[in-house]
Symmetry: C3
């Protein structure tokens, strides 16, 4: 279960999670890493385990962009080089901390666990919309494999069941038309169009009594599990750009913590009410369901458990297949290198 | 440790544990199952893991004898057939939930995890005595392999040590005579007869001062671990049917929850006092001892740990040997099917 | 990780941890053992798992130097022989509890998990200094492999970082000279001499203003991990025996609890202040660091994790190498016995 695809950008944290000039420790892809905020506004990412006696460097001090081990005082720079020793003589050159490329983009830190020479920043998916006013960016951990979370997000029909109390939906999703497309950037879109349906409860006050609306839910997916949801609503018969409310786009970015748990990065309006709703949906509704699915799977691989496939899984399955292809390609590359 | 014998009736629950028209989720033989109470008074038993995305069906709704998944709304009937889909078109016929035969008998639900064609209801052991007034039927979980619980029950000499405070015993059990017999139904009886011994504390007021009594403790065992204890007491020199108090029979039915934990189904008089005593005996006295034995065994098989065998183990060992024969027979059958 | 060297003396407990005429249960080298205080002032050590049904004998009763099982009443003497049965007839001679040699010395109980014929009491390292007035002997458990604790103690330079708040050190340790020597008893000494350094904060009132001192920290190690720390301080230019305060010696004796946790036996002055300081240093400073190192190592062997080696590790590495030699020698002996 732990054969992560390595040559991809993964999200490590929101920028506000790392204190200015400070460090954050986080388990990512099964290992502890620290993210350090440096004086030039960039970041460094080091294995959070001193190469000398394996203690967490993040419990030490960050001074002048050098991370000092809390145990015996060795200091490491952003490249993982030991640049300070408390003892006479030069720092031991053979002592090196592991590092990964890390880049700040769209208020998020992105890291590349594979070959650093392939870490092209242009491959980071576009989440430019994240950087807007009035939003609060949040993080939680879900006790399930990251692809179970992808399944959840790439099939939004579950909102009629799991989130029926939170969203006041009315069954109109079942009248929707699903389309799954892959765009030129390689993103997979799972699109759900509902035409001439009754307005959802939250929008009813904004449309004429009894008037029909068109609604769309478009989920964009980039490997490994960086998703963006677009929600739109227009009066039926009008142009789609004549929307009842402005189209909303939100990030749903998933990063494996371990083979059975996932980081979930999302945002919501910076109000107490929106925060409470988001937590209800994610923590009380989605999380227990995904965790129960994980427990049911246990240590089995998803496919070994012979899941039934529904038509509505088309987007989720295309994403899973993409990840499988990437895993196989990396395994083949490694086998070749081994020869 | 998890090679359960499958072609046997196991007890899943007392009938009152399943709400009318509702569901109960329970881990049995290492897997989660749900028991649903249907409108015709019978029950259904389905794997508590939706065949689509493995979430617990028991968290969904039971409506008109159809179990609706809480995640994406598929509905399953008692045969595990998908009979409802929220989307247009027929329900997906290839999506099936696993089921097991389940029968209500003697206020208990009995399930058959093996070949359904062999699930003959006449093989359910007779616990007819359970259905009597004034009794409360209870359930607890013990953190130990079910055969460690069998050992406990098939050698009641431990009441002189483990339950000495609860039962006010007086050592007379050591003057007893043990006999182990197999009856025509295949049940193994571990019988303990104490002749001309002082009356136990609880019976003393009912016999003449200093008069001797005959006491008997008969434990009946059916595979895998369905036991019934008969306790009797008569004045020495009288016929056994001339009892001081009516003979008492109580169920002690054990079902594996996992390879290291067990369901324990028992009953007691429906008084607060009897409930407190039963909980003291089972939860404070037996449970910690069996749990400690399990921890000491760890993942080792019982026989690999080379237990010392005492004469008083005769009944317990005969039951263990029976289970071993059944396991071997099933393994041989499976090997043959494989050829 | 669990290939303990068996032909060595390990410390099990301080004498005051075992009640007079009572028992202590403790996990040692991955197994539960009981230590019983006998009427002649000596001790017995038995596997804390009855050979009959594996329950903890320590939950039973110790009467007249016989340990009675709480489950079915078998009684065992100090040799592990079953000397009592509640049933008619002689006790079952084939039922034996495992034992280990155990000796009281220097207020501590020492046990020998290997071949009892090799258990020569003269091999117990000398901790005679432990038996002095005004000291409190203590015990705690550290969630790390015992050799990670050895590493900690055999490289005291960490006090400048990890204990900088507790000990008010001032960097003078970096001016020290390390020497690692093996004495005729086989003990490895990691010695740290600091000459003509400023007095540490605690000693400043006792030396003339601005006067320099010589300080020494000598850690003595015996296999597997029985250590003693000598701390001394004299005015620079005087003889070392002309000390500012009397030389202090303290035990730091480590015994594996499991392959990832360790017993730590230490002492300190019998004052509330000294107790608080010791707990701060061991529990708040050392323990979390060693536990984090263990978590980072996970199930990997120390050497498989390719630790960087520093000059200051010389003592720790010599101790690790000694343990490796002892392990290999025992493995070779066992292989030979197998032939």
């Amino acid at each position: 279960m732990a054969d992560y695809v390595r040559n991809l950008w993964y999200m490590a944290a929101w920028d506000h999670e790392i204190p200015d000039g400070g460090m954050l420790s986080r388990t990512l892809l099964g290992e502890k890493w620290l993210i350090a905020s440096l004086s030039d506004g960039t970041y460094a990412m080091l294995a959070d385990s001193c190469p000398h006696r394996f203690v967490p460097l993040s419990k030490g001090k960050l001074e002048a962009d050098v991370i000092h081990c809390p145990y015996h005082g060795l200091g490491f720079d952003r490249t993982g080089t030991c640049v300070h020793s408390p003892f006479p003589g030069p720092p031991p050159a053979h002592v090196r901390a592991r590092t990964m490329p890390v880049i700040l983009r769209h208020r998020a830190l992105w890291f590349w666990p594979g070959d650093p020479n392939k870490a092209d920043a242009r491959l980071i998916p576009d989440f430019g919309f994240v950087d807007r006013d009035g939003m609060q960016r949040s993080h939680l951990v879900i006790q399930g494999h990251y692809e179970l979370v992808t399944d959840n997000l790439m099939d939004l029909t579950h909102i009629e069941f799991l989130h029926v109390e939170s969203f006041g939906v009315n069954g109109s999703i079942f009248a929707g038309r699903q389309s799954v497309v892959t765009d030129e950037s390689g993103a997979i879109w799972n699109n759900w169009d509902m035409e001439a349906v009754p307005a959802p409860a939250w929008a009813a006050p904004m449309v004429a009594d009894g008037a029909r609306v068109d609604q769309w839910l478009y989920m964009r997916w980039h490997a490994p599990a960086a998703m963006a949801l677009t929600v739109g609503l227009s009066r039926t018969g009008t142009e789609r750009r004549d929307m009842v409310v402005p189209e909303m786009v939100n990030p749903h970015i998933i990063t494996p913590e371990t083979s059975t748990s996932s980081h979930y990065f999302y945002d919501h309006e910076a109000t107490r009410e929106a925060e409470v709703l988001a937590r209800k949906v994610f923590i009380e509704e989605d999380e227990p369901m995904i965790e129960a699915a994980q427990q049911s799977l246990g240590t089995r691989d998803f496919w070994d458990a012979r899941p039934a496939i529904l038509e509505t899984d088309a987007g989720a399955i295309r994403a899973r297949r993409r990840m499988m292809q990437l895993r196989r390609a990396e395994a083949a590359d490694e086998a070749q290198v081994g020869n």
